[in-house]
Amino acid sequence: MSTKKKIRSTWLLWPALFMLVAFFLIPTLDILRASVYDPEFTTKHFTKLFSSNVYLDVLWRTIRLSCIVALICAVIAYPISYFIVQRPRKQQIFFLFLVFIPLWMSVLIRSYAWMVVLGREGLINAILIGLGFTDAPVKMLFTTGAVYVAMVQILLPIQIVTCYSAMTEIDLDLMRAARILGAKPWQAIRRVFLPLSLDGTVTGAIIVFMLSMGFFITPALVGGRKDIMMANLIEFQVNQLNWGFAAAISIVLLIGTVLCVIIIKRLSKILTGRLVGGGNA
């Protein structure tokens, strides 16, 4: 540790700070300004946003969809992470590698892949018709269901990895101890493992939620006309050259995201408290 004091070269941090100020902080301030100056001070963008049901509907739909996607990811990922964490070390690395494969592909290509699978003449319809389950192709692409299927697939690896890393911190001997003391396997999981691993699950769900809130490509490609989200609304307004209004929507999106994250954290704390309390009774 003594070497750490010898080099005092904080100037190495300056490029990072410069880039953050120029390409992150000032742009953020630019959005704030664009939302209320046009060119004089005005609240018309926010008034427009909150006076029309159309925009509030999109906001509500975005929040709801992101919550459901985060919940589905959390539920699917939990047993997967549990499975991986219980394997020998070498196998863990291989299984994580499998989970990571889709994470390396661009969201654009992964959404396109779902168009190929779910399309009118796509894989699933070809199978269904080939097996004689249906005569005419089933409409799957451009539906809300397609958005869920694709978004969960895209975000699931992130949830698994977060949940898994939290689980690796848990001492598995605690489970063994619970078993020796007479707990059934499911009791050991519910009363020991679950409360300890819930934090990582919630963290993962929050990351998935935040990423979903800003999703743009997937709803536009695999969703229907009704499935547009906040990000699609922003892009549309930018293309219409309504930057001020786009800025106002972005701010509402950001604040909405932060508020939801706070609420999710609160709720999860209550839930964890209940679980731990249940363990004592």
Partner: protein, 267 residues
């Protein structure tokens, strides 16, 4: 192992794992077989096997130029974000700073903010300065998105360093810079390479900032996006297949490199 009463649930768990892995990977690999078809439309099963859509891709100057622009922007963004992120690690991981927590939050904050928000901000900022529609501006914008990840990845491998080596080098008379480069840097390098590959793909795959900022030229994601909105021609299947294979090779190599470095430092 096999005699535990847990057996059935373990069996179910393995089945569940296989199903989910198929769900995660299968849609991606299905793109590759359909790219080798000479049909003008996307159709299952692919008939009329051939490389027509690869020929279309390589023969179309628009696609090739878009690819080259994305490569250029990606390389600049990769170099900038890797250097800037690594330098930030060297300050925040090795030096005692009063505002360390605050600075770490600040550096990682672009990850948390919705991507569309940053994109719009960068766009308005670039328009105001008149530096929009410029590959260099786009590269720096991408680098800003990517370097928090570099900071996290390199920071994680820095925390695995054993400080004794560097201390030994110092005791043996090396200056602080030389001690760092001879004792710490080699074990840090695989993490840095992994971060570089990752940040390259962050830029190479990025759509929205490019879509906002670039009006004259098209990056590869912009070109794919434009084509996808019009019609689903199998050219995209060919491009996607190339990108899928390239991503697997690039990221796979980086991952192996990073793993190997962890093994070396553990042994």
């Amino acid at each position: 192992m096999n005699k535990k009463p847990f057996n059935l649930s373990k069996f179910l768990l393995i089945g569940y794992f296989i199903v989910i892995i198929l769900y995660l990977t299968f849609p991606i690999f299905i793109v590759i077989p359909i790219s080798f078809s000479n049909n003008p439309f996307l159709r299952f099963p692919p008939s009329n096997l051939g490389v027509l859509w690869y020929e279309t891709y390589f023969g179309d100057s628009g696609w090739v130029e878009a690819t080259l622009l994305s490569l250029k922007v990606g390389l600049i963004a990769c170099v900038v974000s890797t250097v800037v992120g690594t330098l930030a690690v060297l300050v925040l991981e090795r030096q005692w700073l009063r505002s360390k927590t605050l600075l770490t939050y600040f550096i990682t904050s672009p990850i948390i903010v919705p991507h569309i928000f940053i994109s719009l901000g960068m766009f308005i900022f670039a328009i105001r300065l008149g530096i929009d529609d410029n590959a260099i501006t786009l590269a720096f914008a991408h680098a800003t998105i990517a370097f928090p990840f570099v900071f996290l990845i390199v920071g994680a491998s820095h925390r695995q360093l054993d400080p004794t080596y560097e201390r030994a080098a110092r005791v043996l008379g090396a200056g602080p810079v030389r001690a760092f480069f001879s004792a710490a840097f080699p074990s840090l390098l695989p993490g840095i390479v992994a971060a570089a590959v990752f940040s390259f793909f962050v830029s190479f795959d990025e759509l929205i900032i490019a879509e906002f900022m670039m009006s004259g030229q098209q990056t590869l994601p912009m070109r794919i996006w434009a084509d996808l909105k019009l019609e689903m021609r199998p050219t995209i299947a060919a491009v996607s297949s190339i990108l899928i294979v390239a991503s697997i090779i690039g990221m796979g190599a980086a991952e192996i490199l990073r793993r190997r470095s962890v093994n070396i430092s553990n042994s």
